[in-house]
Amino acid sequence: MLSIEKIERRARQLLSDAKVTGPAVDVRAVAKFLRASIRPVEADENISGAIVREGDQITIGINSAHPITRKRFTIAHELGHLVLHDAEAKVDHRYAQAPRDGIQLAALRNRVSSEAVDPREIEANRFAASLLMPAHFLEGSLHSYKLPLGDADIIRLAREYNVSVQAMNYRLMNLGVPVDVAGH
């Protein structure tokens, strides 16, 4: 299993190579830099995306029905497989309907999921979070916020980074950013 630090470094290096300098991360530009084309495809709700590599052609398929934040995360996740695992082909699912943004932040905050057991999936998710919400970008953003962060702050940050509130919430939690959970 790759260390978190290593994954963060790979994501940061990639952003710098692809000349992405701030949020919201242009994940399509990053994909383009890696010569991967994005193809939105109609698919079952439970299919998130896939990466297919044939010869020098790399295609990332994403579920065209998913919300934009979800699509961005999927692209970043598939790029993780590409960068970290040299995947030839891979399909990614999700189990259930995701809840909508902006609810029950406190409930989410205290939960750490241990459900993902395939190390490559965990790595790809960490890579996706690092790519879309790089620690060094967040450090900059957080200058204009008062800590601990409240729910409204997290929603604003999620909008700034064009990620789901859940993803932002999780990322902040993993980075150890103080978040106000009182009052819930």
Partner: protein, 138 residues
């Protein structure tokens, strides 16, 4: 009202379905061994229903059917329950590591072949109109 967050759908947001490529073959190989042992049971072959009853109904007939088709994995306790019901050693139901890990690399065609129709269709769409290996246009 918005849906409630449960640990299952929290996991669903962030994690994809974990599935190393050999998992599928593991379940299938276990299923095949189970079926072989059921058919060769003495004094006479057992039906799935009879096997289910012999596990003291810890496994339903439909579970046994899914297991045999490799659609469902089994727990350690279920492995022993099945071995007891068939009067064989648990190890008789287990494929060797060599068999399990010898699965071909997860190339596109292999993935299409072993996936559900929905996933296979999705993959074909992702591949798009690109010509396949050995295609007619060469």
């Amino acid at each position: 009202m918005l849906p409630r967050l449960t640990s299952a759908n929290v996991a669903a947001i962030f994690f994809s379905m974990p599935q190393p490529v050999w998992w599928k073959s593991l379940n299938l190989l276990v299923g095949q061994r189970l079926q072989r042992n059921r058919h060769s049971a003495s004094p006479k072959p057992l039906t799935q229903q009879e096997l289910s009853e012999r596990t003291e109904s810890t496994l339903s007939r439909s579970s046994i059917a899914s297991i045999e088709r490799g659609l469902q994995g089994i727990s350690l306790a279920q492995l022993y329950a099945l071995a007891k019901a068939l009067n064989v050693e648990p190890s008789d139901l287990l494929p060797s590591g060599g068999e399990v890990f010898a699965t071909p690399k997860e190339g596109v065609e292999e993935l299409v072949r072993t996936s559900s129709p929905a996933v296979a269709t999705f993959l074909r769409k992702v591949q798009g109109t690109r010509t396949k290996k050995g295609g007619a246009n060469a």
